[in-house]
Amino acid sequence: MSDPIRSAVHELFASRESTLRGTSFAADARARGLIRRRRAARQAGTIAGVLVGVVALGVGAMAAVDHGTVGPSSRPGVAGVITLDIAGDTTFAMDGVLPGCGEAAPVTVLRSGGFAFEPMGRSKVTAGNTAGSEARLMGDVVSDSANPVSVAINGPAGVIVKDGVVVGYTSWTPEAFATLERGDTARVSSTVGHTVTVCVDGLPATKEFLPAGTYDIYPVIHVIGSREAAAWRVLREGHALAEPGNELLPAGYPGSPFCEDIIATLAEDLRFNGPGPGGNLPYECTDGSVIDISAGTITVPYPGKYFTGDVDAILIGEPVEVTLVEGYYEN
């Protein structure tokens, strides 16, 4: 234990354990319920069997839509049904939106597709590489549409430019969702600091330092309206999965522990027990959504208010001159 780092980490852990002493496990009842149900299902070999009951509905829903296409729905309030690839890429990635490493600086576009970007903050900032010293890219996305528009807003990503050439990118905010009417604003911001991707040999690289110095950072925002965006908005808002006969479980988006856990459990059963009589076990959600483990898809009904039309607008703010006072690194 003579290593000072080892000692420090152990000390930190002991300190936290001491500080947390007396903390109770708030999710105890939920965890117990989940464990009991899963153990019971395993012992009885019923997970596959129980799910057979929903196969017909699941297969029906899956058959009605191809990946990425829309199916009709007779459910009240539901405008359509779409199948998303859970394990795949999202429609919200910035691929194709940001200029590549080594390319010329982007051109400012303050209005596009019925939206405008109104940047906030200073045109020149100094940023450090320690907590609290970051700069922020901030501004308002303003709708020019007379009618409510439901969109996902991705960004702002910061394109870092030196001498007119793209040399890196700052982190950006995953898509957030908003419904905007004319004049409504969506405040967007992201942090410049800590996590910077640096271009090396023309490609984004990790673990490379961006030297201290002055850079131009262009905020880039992607405003998206699509059926996929509508479905993800549904998922983000607290989609619910129902275990047959049991209470609802919060679930939803990629990374949701419940959704992942349920999918992982079912996938594990598939692996060890093989497919039951129902085949590949689509898993029905309370609102008619279906998770198909083997296909890695989730089929989601979405309401009309979340799909008001296709929007694909890229907004690019004026560059902010940022002086990095310390070496930046990709985290």
Partner: protein, 188 residues
């Protein structure tokens, strides 16, 4: 009461603070840590594995915490593969108060990448060898060595700065959209 419930009770009550502390050290985020402990307990006790005693069970749960955390970070990185720089935007430094150099260490840990932090925790807190940590993390030995090298650099710096004034860690991570209706905007 089945045997799993006895061990579960022990971990979910008496050992919960220790499990939470472990998860906070790994995630640098209290809310994520609580979720991780929950998920690890569910994963461990949902399976019909033989658990010899509470210590054995706790070892399983801690390993499950690490595994779930690593898997989740990997999935997240994969999901957002076009956005690798999102790696730490959800990593809010833990608000658990620390004293003296522990605050610097906690702060330094919080700002490591998830992979580097996991390597540090597995190697220094769980006392796993580099090879063992590589197996848990499903990465190469070289990758773990690199993570540890990066982590040690940051932690050494933090330890060296322990007598200096603690930096402000209460920065704003509210990278969210807030909508202001046009009417309200016109009033302001």
């Amino acid at each position: 009461m089945g045997s799993w419930q006895g061990f579960y009770d022990e971990l979910a009550h008496a050992r919960y603070p220790a499990l939470l502390a472990y998860a906070v050290t790994l995630t640098a985020n209290r809310a994520d840590a609580e979720d991780l402990v929950h998920d690890a307990l569910v994963r461990t006790f949902s399976k019909g594995r033989r658990l010899d005693n509470a210590v054995h069970a706790e070892r399983y749960v801690r390993r499950a915490i690490a595994s779930i955390y690593i898997d989740r970070q990997r999935k997240r990185a994969s999901w957002w593969r076009a956005a690798p720089r999102l790696a730490t935007t959800d990593s809010v430094p833990d608000a658990t108060p620390e004293i003296d150099h522990r605050s610097e260490i906690a702060n330094a840990l919080a700002h490591l990448s998830p992979q580097v932090r996991a390597a540090i925790v597995l190697h220094y807190l769980d006392d796993l060898s580099v090879e063992q940590a590589a197996r848990v993390m499903h990465v190469s030995v070289g990758a773990v060595k690199r993570y540890l090298s990066d982590g040690r650099g940051a932690l050494r710096q933090a330890l060296g700065a322990s007598l200096l004034e603690a930096p402000d860690t209460t920065y704003d991570l509210a990278d969210v959209v807030s909508v202001q209706p046009a009417k309200a905007r016109r009033r302001s």
